[in-house]
C-alpha cells in the first residue's frame, strides 16, 4: 500500500473510514513508520483544532424545556391564520368608517331641517332595540313642545347636540366603546326613566331632548358594561361597536340615507368615540385648565373635529356619568349659532373664566344645574 494522504488519516482518526479501508490502513501503519509519524502529527493537529474550537464555544447553558419552546412558538409563526377573521372584520369596519367619514360633509345642511330630524330619530329608534323603542314615545311627546320649525332657535338647538358625530377613522378602533345591541332590561328602564325625567323639564326641541337622552343612555350602558372608565376599551368590543353601527346603517337604506345617518350618528356617536387625551393636552387645547367637579374620577377627551372642544367625563356613581363639555368662549365652534343662548335646551351651560362650559348627563335639570355650579378648574 502506498503512503496515505492526510484526508484518509483524518477520516481514520475521526472514526469515519469505512471498515475495509480501516483494516487496510491498520495493516499499513503497523509496517510504515513514516505513516505512523504522520498519523501522530495529524492527531496532534486534530486535537489542537478541537481545542481551539472548544475555546470558542458559548457558555454552556441548559436548553430551555422543549415544551416551553414548542408551545408559544408555533402560534407566533402563524398569527395571521388565527386572526384572519378578526383582521377582515377590522378592515371592513374601517372601510365603512372611512366611507362614512368621507361622505359626511354633504349631510350637514340636510340634517339641520328639524322635521327630518324627528323622522330620522324615530326611525333610528326603531332600528335600535327594546331600549330604543321605549324612548321613541317620550321623544314624540316632547315634540309637541317644539317651536315652529325653521326658526333660528330650533335650528341652533338642532345643531347643538353631541358636537361631532363622525369620529375620525383612525381613532375609532382605539377609543370606541361597545354599544350593546340589546342592553339589559334594567338599563333600558333606566334610560326610559331618564327620558321621562328629562324630556318634560327640557320643554323644548325634541332633537335636543332626545340627544340628551341618548347621551345619557350611552353613558349609562357604558358604565354598566365597564366599571373602569379609565381603562382603554379592548379592541374586540370596538369592533362590535363598529359592526353594530354599520349594520344599522345598512338597515337605514340608501334612499334617504343622508339625513337619517347624520342624525343616527348624532345620537350614537357620543363622546365615547372621542379620543382620550391627557390633562396637559386638554390644557393646551383650551388655553387654560380644564374644568370639572373636583374629587371625582375623570376622563378627558377631545372632539375629533379639532374645534377645540374638550369633554371631561366624570362618574357621579357607578351608573351615572356626566359630561362637561368645554371650549374657549371666543372660538367658533359647532354650536356657534346657539351662542345667543346662554343655556341651550340640550345642555346647561355657563361661562367659567375663558371657557364656555356645558353639562350633560342622565340627571334632572336641577341636579345638572347644581353640578354645573360646582364646576371649577381641575387641579
Amino acid at each position: 500500500m502506498p503512503h496515505v494522504d492526510e484526508g484518509t488519516l483524518h477520516a481514520y482518526l475521526d472514526g469515519e473510514l469505512p471498515f475495509a479501508e480501516r483494516k487496510t490502513l491498520d495493516v499499513h501503519l503497523a509496517e510504515c513508520a513514516s505513516c505512523r509519524t504522520m498519523l501522530e502529527e495529524e492527531r496532534a493537529l486534530l486535537d489542537r483544532a478541537s481545542a481551539l474550537l472548544g475555546a470558542a464555544r458559548p457558555t454552556e447553558r441548559p436548553a430551555p424545556p422543549f415544551e416551553q419552546l414548542s408551545v408559544p412558538r408555533p402560534p407566533r409563526r402563524s398569527p395571521w391564520r388565527v386572526r384572519t377573521p378578526v383582521a377582515w372584520a377590522a378592515s371592513i369596519a374601517l372601510a365603512l368608517g372611512i366611507g362614512y367619514y368621507l361622505r359626511q360633509p354633504s349631510t350637514g345642511p340636510v340634517a339641520s331641517a328639524p322635521e327630518q330630524h324627528d323622522v330620522a330619530l324615530v326611525q333610528q329608534a326603531n332600528e335600535r332595540d327594546k331600549f330604543a323603542e321605549r324612548f321613541t314615545q317620550p321623544a314624540e311627546r316632547a315634540d309637541e313642545n317644539k317651536p315652529a320649525p325653521g326658526t333660528p332657535r330650533s335650528h341652533a338647538a338642532a345643531r347643538a347636540p353631541s358636537p361631532v358625530p363622525a369620529p375620525a377613522p383612525s381613532t375609532v378602533a382605539a377609543v370606541a366603546v361597545p354599544i350593546p345591541q340589546a342592553p339589559p332590561l334594567a338599563v333600558a328602564r333606566d334610560i326610559a326613566e331618564g327620558v321621562v325625567k328629562t324630556a318634560p323639564v327640557a320643554k323644548t326641541d325634541s332633537v335636543a331632548a332626545s340627544a340628551l337622552i341618548v347621551d345619557g343612555g350611552i353613558v349609562r350602558q357604558q358604565s354598566a358594561a365597564s366599571q373602569s372608565r379609565n381603562a382603554a376599551p379592548a379592541p374586540a368590543p370596538a369592533l362590535e361597536y363598529m359592526s353594530t353601527d354599520s349594520l344599522a346603517r345598512g338597515a337605514a337604506g340608501v334612499s334617504q340615507a343622508t339625513s337619517r345617518q347624520s342624525v343616527e350618528l348624532r345620537g350614537r356617536a357620543t363622546t365615547t368615540s372621542w379620543p382620550i387625551i391627557s390633562r396637559g393636552t386638554a390644557r393646551s387645547l383650551l388655553g387654560t385648565d380644564p374644568v370639572g367637579l373636583p374629587g371625582l374620577a375623570r376622563q378627558i377627551r377631545r372632539s375629533p373635529a379639532a374645534d377645540g372642544t374638550v369633554v371631561v367625563e366624570q362618574r357621579i356613581d357607578s351608573a351615572t356619568t356626566i359630561q362637561i363639555f368645554q371650549r374657549q368662549s371666543g372660538t367658533a365652534a359647532l354650536d356657534s349659532s346657539a351662542k345667543a343662548e346662554i343655556a341651550p335646551a340640550d345642555r346647561l351651560a355657563r361661562y367659567l373664566g375663558r371657557l364656555r362650559v356645558e353639562i350633560s348627563g342622565p340627571l334632572s335639570t336641577d341636579s345638572l344645574n347644581k353640578l354645573l355650579d360646582q364646576v371649577q378648574p381641575l387641579p
Binding site: D5, E6, G7, T8, L9, H10, A11, Y12, D14, E16, L17, E42, L45, L46, R48, A49, S50, L52, L53, A55, A56, R57, P58, T59, E60, R61, A63, P64, F66, L69, S70, R73, P74, R76, R77, S78
Partner: protein, 168 residues
C-alpha cells in the same frame, strides 16, 4: 416517519447553539436562533430533523451575518488590536482574547472548509456533512484535514503577530 423532535432537541440543542455561536459570535443570539430553528422544525416536521436544523440554522446565521457584516468586521478589527501589555504565553491569554483569535482564524478559512469543520464539531457524521455541504463523502476527510490545519496556522499566526506587534 419524522424524528421525535423532542428527542432531537435534547440531543442536538447544545451542538446547534455551539454551531450558531461560531457564526454569530453572540451566545444569546445563538441560543435564540437555535430555538427559532427548533420552533420551525416543530412546524415543518422535516424527515431528517437534525440535518434540516443545521441547514436552517446555517441560513439564519448567514442572514444574520449579512445584516451585521459591517459591524462585525469593525468588531473583529477592534478585537485583533494587540494588547500592548500582553506578552504572556498562550495559556495565560484570557478567554476573551483567545475566543477572538479563534474567531479571526476561523474567518480565514474558506466558507466550505469552515462549514465542514463546524458541522463536524457540532457532532455531524461525514455522511451528514456530505449531504449538508454537497461535498463527496470521500472528500470530507481531506476537507477537514485542510480546515484544521488552516485554523491552527491562522490562529498561531494571529497570536504571533499580536506578540510581535506588542514587542515591536
Amino acid at each position: 416517519m419524522p424524528d421525535d423532535i423532542a428527542e432531537v432537541y435534547r440531543n442536538t440543542y447544545p451542538a446547534l447553539v455551539r454551531f450558531l455561536y461560531r457564526k454569530v459570535w453572540d451566545a444569546e443570539r445563538a441560543a435564540d436562533l437555535a430555538q427559532e430553528a427548533f420552533a420551525r422544525a416543530v412546524v415543518h416536521k422535516p424527515e431528517n430533523t437534525r440535518g434540516w436544523l443545521f441547514v436552517v440554522a446555517a441560513n439564519m446565521a448567514r442572514d444574520e451575518a449579512r445584516r451585521a457584516a459591517r459591524e462585525k468586521r469593525h468588531l473583529t478589527l477592534l478585537k485583533n488590536e494587540p494588547d500592548a501589555v500582553h506578552s504572556e504565553p498562550d495559556e495565560a491569554i484570557d478567554a476573551d482574547r483567545q475566543r477572538s483569535a479563534v474567531r479571526a482564524a476561523l474567518e480565514q478559512l474558506t466558507p466550505r472548509d469552515r462549514e465542514a469543520l463546524l458541522l463536524w464539531d457540532a457532532g455531524m457524521s461525514y455522511d451528514e456533512i456530505a449531504t449538508q455541504t454537497g461535498l463527496a463523502r470521500g472528500a470530507i476527510g481531506t476537507t477537514l484535514a485542510r480546515a484544521r490545519r488552516r485554523l491552527v496556522e491562522a490562529y498561531d499566526a494571529g497570536i504571533e503577530g499580536g506578540q510581535h506587534a506588542a514587542r515591536g
